[in-house]
Structure formats: C-alpha cells, structure tokens
C-alpha cells in the first residue's frame, strides 16, 4: 500500500457520515424511493408558476443585506433587496451589470459617478432615486449600524446627489473596481427604513429584486413570492419556500422523500444515493478557496524554505479526490480559481515531491517540529477531515515529529481569525470572494497590516503591486499584470497554501428545470420552473 493510499484510507475510516450509506442500504431493503410525489402534488400545472420548496442548512435570524455578502445569507437577501450594481456570474466571466444604477464613469482616480435607472419604484411607492442611494450609503458607512460590508466599502469617503438620478462617490484611496464592489450595496427606501428602523426592516425588507418576502420565521422558514415592482423582470415560480434542515443526511432524505424540491450543500457521502433515481445533481464551485495559512511572524514557519517544504509535502490531487470525492477544483499555487477574474495562467503550483520537501527542511536545519493546526469544525465542508488529511501528509516529513489538529467551535475560530486569541502554526480558512468574484478580494488579505486577519506576512513588493492593482481598470493588461505579479510573489513566499476551491453541490428532483448556481454561489431562483407528470 502506498503512503498516499494509506493516509487516505485512514481518514476515510473516520468518516462518521459513512452511516448514511448504511441507512441508504436499509432503505433500499425496505422498498423503492417514493421520489417526489408530495412535491408533485404541490405544483401548479404547466412549466412555470410552481411552488418550489428548498431545504437549506440554516435560515438566518434576519435578511440584512448590509451584512450578507456570501451564501447562504446572500441567496436569501439578494433576490429581495435592491443593489446598486450586480455582478452577473451566471455566464462566462463575472461581469458587472446594471442594478439600480444603469451606467457609471470614473471621473478621476478617486471619484466615480453613477446614473440611476428612472423606471424603478420600491413596493411602498418610494422612488429609487439619488436620495435613496445617499441615505443607504451613509447608513452603511456609520459603524453604529454594524454593516459588515463596510469592511469592503469603507473606502467611500463621501457620497453626494448630483441630481435626482446621478450620484457621485469620492473615495479615500483609488479603487478601480468600485462598481463591482457596489454589487453588494443595498439601496433601501429611506422613509420606510427610517420609520420602521433597521431591525424591523431586515425582517421584511422592501426592494426591487425579483421577489418579495411573504413570510419569514427567523431561523425556521422563509417564503418568497414574485415582486410586481421587480426591476429584474418577472420571476417564474409562484413561490420559493426555504426550510431549515440542519442535518446533511436529513436534507438528502427530505429530497428523496419528496418533501423538498431542491437541497443545498449535498454532503459528499450523500451524492451517491442521489446519482441514481429521479434527481439531478449540480456540481457548482464556490468562489471560496480553502487555504492553510502559515503564520510567518514567529516559530519555524518564519523560514520560507520550511513553508515551501510544507507546500511540496501536500498531495493536493489526493486530497481533493480522497476527502471531497473529486468535487471542487485543485489549488493552482494562487488564491484565484481558474474561473475568477485575476487568475494567472503563468503561475503553477509546487509539485507534490516529498524528497524535495525533505531536502528543503534539511537545508533550513530544522528537525523534531511539533506543529499545531487550527481548523473550524463544521463551518467549512469536511473541514476536520481536510485538516486531518493535511496533518497526516505534513507528518510524513522527516523533520516533523507531530501535527496536532485543533478543531474549534465557530466563535472561537473567529477569535483566531481576528487575531484575538493565540494562533498556532497552521490555520485553515475558506477565503471567499463572493459576491464580487474578483481575486483582489482574496489577495488584499495578504497586504501588510490587513486589519481583519493578519498572519504576520509582509512584503513591500507585494504591497506595491497591490496598490497598482487597485488603480488599474478592469479588463486592462495593467490589471492582469498586477494580478500575475501578486500571484508570483504569493507562490514565492508561500504565506499560505491554496489547497482547493470548495465544491458547492446542489441537488433537485428531476421535475425542476432552469436551476442554475452562479459563480458567487447564489442560485437564480427567478428562473426555476417545475414540470408535472
């Protein structure tokens, strides 16, 4: 047995979710699946206008779009709220398309001007105008309002209405992709928002999205129906009902029982029972890169040779195959996956080479290393298994005596992310660029002194190229060059190892048509139909 097979065999044996297989066998013994008979009974005749039921892992306590940049929060909130622009991630490339704004121009390095659509109204009759954008932007910028998108849009220094339909943003530093970043900027009806307050508004938001909220039971259930004032055309389903089913195996069972039409986050072990039968699987990939941060400011990992040795000790193909059943994309030595704006073809990953890795360790003069690996537990798909597998691979290095895996509850894990508690040598993180789908969002995290998550890495050359990236317009050779230079430095310095782009597997009954998940991980709910018979 090869070392690789041995390692994979060992952690596979740990999978508690193998129980799902046993359960599936029992069910098969008891008879055939009843498919989607209940879902069928719910559907209206014809292809469109059906009531679609979606089983999701969790439903958030509110629908606040000011703090909803990544799924699942974004896929509840974005279909309802008005957004200044939209990042169209359904087709090839992630292009910025009109939202509330129909066009925009860069006046100078620090100033952008946006022209709004004139035909839009909120459901309560308030106009979607410059005053609404100014109100919403000021609300977002006030730290008291706890908008987490301020982390990305805090660069806006001033917002002013040029006329009823024109807005000017002035920034504190150049940001060439402001229109893309404003794809996360919700626009609210000022009078209604001020009247009911943010807390009440976030439970029943009013927007110009394709849907509006019919019923919301925080944490349990959300029902969306088509919005007659939609700025994005009419939604095809009669309603979309989201139901919280936290247990992965129970979600798969609910689809098989016909209690729901679509499920999110199909566990890797739940894929097989759905491959046969009346179901369709959707192999989407999240714009989330699973990286292992190597803390560079103290300990043995300060030596770049040690970090390179660790990168070379990881058999990324085996990891993706063994832990993720081949789903997701193997990391390519850079933070951006191949479909993302900012991917650099010239940068390739270090090849898996244990002998070369041992040589590097010997050159660095290290031995008897006792390393610690901090990982989340249940926050990222198969996170503990990934950490165990990576730990086993690193442990194969001659200089490494042990790798201790430290799984953490989410809030403790966030404390490490925010550098508030003691960090170890390795820290696993799912680095998302949703909803912007641009590598700059991920690359920014390695700029010196990045406040949210500082892994101790600092390289003035990297900072200089990141500055150039911020000034370079989208789609220009200058911007692509900056991306490539940053990725080259990343590969050279190895502040982290980009292991893989995370899979995002969805499944539906085979009665569902038109279901698509975009590159930001958000389904286009408005396009879904369901056939009967």
């Amino acid at each position: 047995m090869s070392p690789k097979t041995e390692v994979l065999g060992r952690f596979r044996a740990l999978k508690v979710s193998a129980l799902v297989g046993v359960v599936a066998l029992l069910a098969t013994a008891c008879g055939s699946s009843n498919g989607d008979k209940k879902a069928e009974a719910d559907s209206s005749p014809g292809a469109a206008g059906a009531n679609i039921v979606v089983g999701v892992g969790a439903i958030n306590p509110d629908l606040d779009a000011f703090s909803a940049t990544s799924p699942p929060r974004s896929f509840y909130a974005y279909p309802v709220w008005s957004l200044l622009t939209r990042v169209d991630t359904l087709g090839e490339g992630a292009k910025v398309v009109p939202g509330v704004a129909e066009s925009w121009t860069r006046v100078n390095d620090l100033t952008w001007q946006f022209v709004l659509r004139k035909d839009l109204k909120f459901a309560n009759g308030e106009p979607v105008d410059a005053a609404a954008v100014v109100y919403s932007t000021k609300f977002m910028l006030d730290p008291k309002n706890e908008a987490s998108i301020r982390g990305k849009l805090g660069i806006i220094k001033q917002v002013e209405a040029v006329d009823d339909n024109t807005i000017r943003f002035t920034m504190s530093a150049p940001e060439a992709i402001l229109p893309r970043l404003l794809g996360a900027m919700p626009i609210v009806p000022p009078k209604e928002h001020a009247r009911v307050g943010a807390k009440a508004f976030n439970v029943k938001p009013i927007g110009t999205g394709a849907f509006m909220v019919e019923k919301f039971v925080p944490g349990k259930e959300l029902v969306l129906v088509p919005n007659p004032n939609s700025g994005q055309g009419k939604a095809l389903p009669a309603s979309i009902t989201f139901k919280a089913i936290p247990e992965d195996a129970a979600r798969v069972a609910a689809l098989r029982a016909g209690d729901v039409d679509i499920i999110t986050k199909v566990p890797i072990d739940g894929i097989k029972p759905l491959e046969s039968g009346a179901f369709t699987l959707y192999d989407a990939v999240e714009p989330r890169t699973y990286v292992v941060d190597l803390f560079t400011d103290s300990g043995p990992l300060t030596d770049v040779r040690v970090r390179r040795a660790i990168a070379q000790s990881l058999d990324l193909d085996a990891l993706v195959q063994g832990v993720m059943g081949g789903k997701g994309q193997v990391g390519q030595g850079q933070l951006a996956p191949s479909f993302m704006s900012g991917y650099c073809k010239d940068v390739t990953r270090y090849p898996y080479d244990l002998a070369a890795a041992n040589k590097l360790m010997a050159e660095a003069g290290v031995s008897g290393l006792k390393l610690k690996f901090q990982t989340s537990q249940g926050f990222i798909l198969n996170d503990t298994l990934l950490a165990q597998a990576i730990g086993e691979m690193v442990n194969k290095l001659d200089a490494v005596e042990s790798v201790e895996i430290a799984p953490m509850e989410f809030s403790n894990y966030l404390d490490v992310y925010y550098n508030r508690t003691e960090r170890a040598d390795f820290f696993a993180w799912g680095m998302s660029s949703s909803p912007f789908v641009d590598a700059s969002v991920q690359l920014e995290r390695l700029v010196s002194g990045y406040p949210q998550h500082n892994i101790g890495y600092s390289n003035p050359k990297y900072d200089e190229w990141f500055g150039k990236l911020r000034s370079a317009e989208e789609g220009t050779p200058e911007r692509q060059q900056a991306f490539c230079e940053l990725s080259k430095i990343y590969k050279e310095d190895v502040p982290s190892v980009a292991v893989m782009t995370m899979p995002d597997v969805w499944a539906s009954s085979d009665k569902i048509r038109g279901f698509k998940v975009d590159q930001a991980g958000n389904p286009a709910w408005e396009l879904i139909t369901k056939v009967t018979g």
Partner: protein, 309 residues
C-alpha cells in the same frame, strides 16, 4: 405542605441565582460576541461599534450588577442574533420541546414499565431475554442513527410520514418515537432490575402464601414499590429532554429549545443563553416539586414523614 412549598421556593431562588451567575461569567470568559455577530469581513470600527451597542465595553462587574437588576424584572434583553426579546424567543421554542418530550415520555413509560416488569418475572424465559435484548439495543444505538433509519424507512421508502419539520401531528411521530426508544430502553432496564429486587423480598412471599393472584402481586404491590425510584428517573429525564434533545431536533429539524441553545452558544448570544438557563432552572425545580408530591401519592410513608416534619 406549606413548608415544602417554602423550601422549594427558596431552592428556586438559589438555583436561579447560582445558575444565572455561573452562565453570566462563563459565557463572558468564552470570548467576544462581536466577531460572531459580524462574521469574517467586518472592519475593526464596526466590531468596536457592535461591542459598544451591546454594552460589552463596560467592566464585567458593572454588567453583572445590571444583569441582576434586570433579572429581578425578568428582562433578559434582546438576542444578539435575532434582535428580538430573548425570553420571548425561548418561550416560543419551549412548547415544541415540551410537547416532543412529553409524548416521548408517555410512549416510553407506557411501553417500558410493563415490559420491564414482564422481563423480570420471565427473566429466564424468551420474554425476559427479548426485553434484555431490546433494552441493550435501545441504549446502544445512537439516537441520530435510529432517527435517520426511521426517516429512510417511513419517509423515504414508504412515504407515510414527513421527513422533517414541526407542522402537525404527523411530523411529531418520528422524532417522538426516536426519543422514546432511548428513554424506553432505560426504563425497561431499571424497572426490570427494581422488580427483580422486589421479587426477592419477604412481602412477595407473604402475598404468595396468602394466595393473592400473581397479577395483583405484580401490578398492585411490586409495581407500586418500583414506582418510587422510577418517579425520580422520569423527573430527571423530563427536565433533561425538555431542556434540549439537541440531536433529535437537528435530525428532524424540530424547532425546539435545544437547537436554539446550541446556536446561541456558537453565536455567543448571551441574552438567549441566560433566558434559556433561567427557564430550564425553573422547570427542573418545578418538576422536582411535582415529583415530591407524587411520592406522597404512591408511598404513604413519605406522606407521614412530611406531616410530622
């Protein structure tokens, strides 16, 4: 009786004060709720604003004094996650947990107690072995496995019952049976053990020699004596499961208190945790009080002791 009431009331106050204080300090040691609320993208100013909005910048002792003042008027504040009244949230989830536990307990006691007595009486026969086997199986199969197996059989394959949710009587059956299986197995084991002990006592021989029917001896005399320790067990289990059958609630997406409490631990939602612990504390003391009263019904000696105290 009045003395017992006074004792229990005092116990309630002490338990609530002790528990609430413990939870107050423990959750604050566990870390900062601001990062759990803001997620991973918030900037330092937003995090600071969250702390300030929640009053977490004040010294812990100041927060504690304010907490005790609010406790007197049962004001636990707003949930950090849900931004609504924490006690209302807890009370909203409580009935679902209580209903699930009570139905499960009725099934478990209804099946477990007679089966335990039969298992003891026929301990060397097929029935006794069957009871033993079922009790061991029920206790050793983890309830999430049993839950998934039941879902696959009754929801997926047969399509008789819904696979998840808390809407209507049909959705109660699978979670209640799953929860009952574990409690029932324990009841069977304990009733069997207590019954065996009673069977060897002198009063059973006397009853036999006086010519009492087997049925009368088993169900009037032995079962009555077995009921006293069983009451304690049922009381403890009621409190424990109403407080949170977390696994069952997750597998069946049952909207109960257990899931809310686990979510609140993860999100460091102090107000919900404190309100939840308060409700659970009151409940446990109340159940113990009811159990004390029931002791007197089933065992006249205890009633006499209480009267003379």
């Amino acid at each position: 009786m009045a003395k017992l009431l006074r004792q229990r009331l005092l116990q309630l106050v002490l338990v609530i004060l002790g528990l609430s204080s413990l939870v107050f300090f423990l959750v604050r040691i566990s870390g900062d709720p601001a990062s759990a609320i803001a997620g991973a993208d918030a900037d330092p100013e937003t995090l600071a604003a969250i702390r300030s909005n929640l009053g977490l910048n004040e010294p812990v002792l100041v927060q504690y004094v304010r907490f005790l003042g609010d406790l007197l008027v049962l004001d636990f504040g707003d949930s950090y996650q849900y931004r609504s009244d924490a006690m209302a949230l807890v009370l909203d989830r409580f009935p679902a947990s209580a209903l699930l536990t009570i139905i499960a307990m009725l099934i478990a006691v209804g099946l477990g107690v007679p089966a335990g007595v039969l298992g003891a009486v026929h301990r060397d026969g097929l029935l006794g072995r069957a009871v033993n086997g079922l009790a061991i199986l029920g206790q050793s199969v983890p309830n999430f496995v049993l839950g998934l197996v039941l879902i696959m059989i009754f929801a997926v394959s047969l399509g008789w019952l819904p696979s998840f949710g808390g809407d209507g009587a049909m959705s109660l059956i699978l979670p209640a049976v799953t929860l009952a299986a574990f409690i029932c197995a324990r009841q069977m084991r304990l009733v069997q053990a207590y019954t065996l002990e009673e069977l060897s006592k002198g009063y059973v021989r006397t009853a036999n020699s006086l010519g009492y029917s087997t049925r009368r001896i088993r169900y009037r005399h032995i079962l009555r004596n077995v009921t006293v320790p069983m009451l304690s067990l049922v009381g403890l289990e009621l409190g424990q499961f109403i407080a949170g059958s977390v696994v069952i609630e997750s597998v069946f997406s049952w909207p109960g208190l257990g899931r809310l409490m686990v979510e609140s631990v993860t999100a460091r939602d102090y107000p919900v945790l404190q309100a939840g612990v308060f409700v659970i504390g009151v409940l446990v003391v109340l159940i113990n009080f009811i159990v004390d009263l029931l002791y007197q019904v089933v065992d006249p000696r205890l009633k006499a002791q209480l009267v003379t105290r």
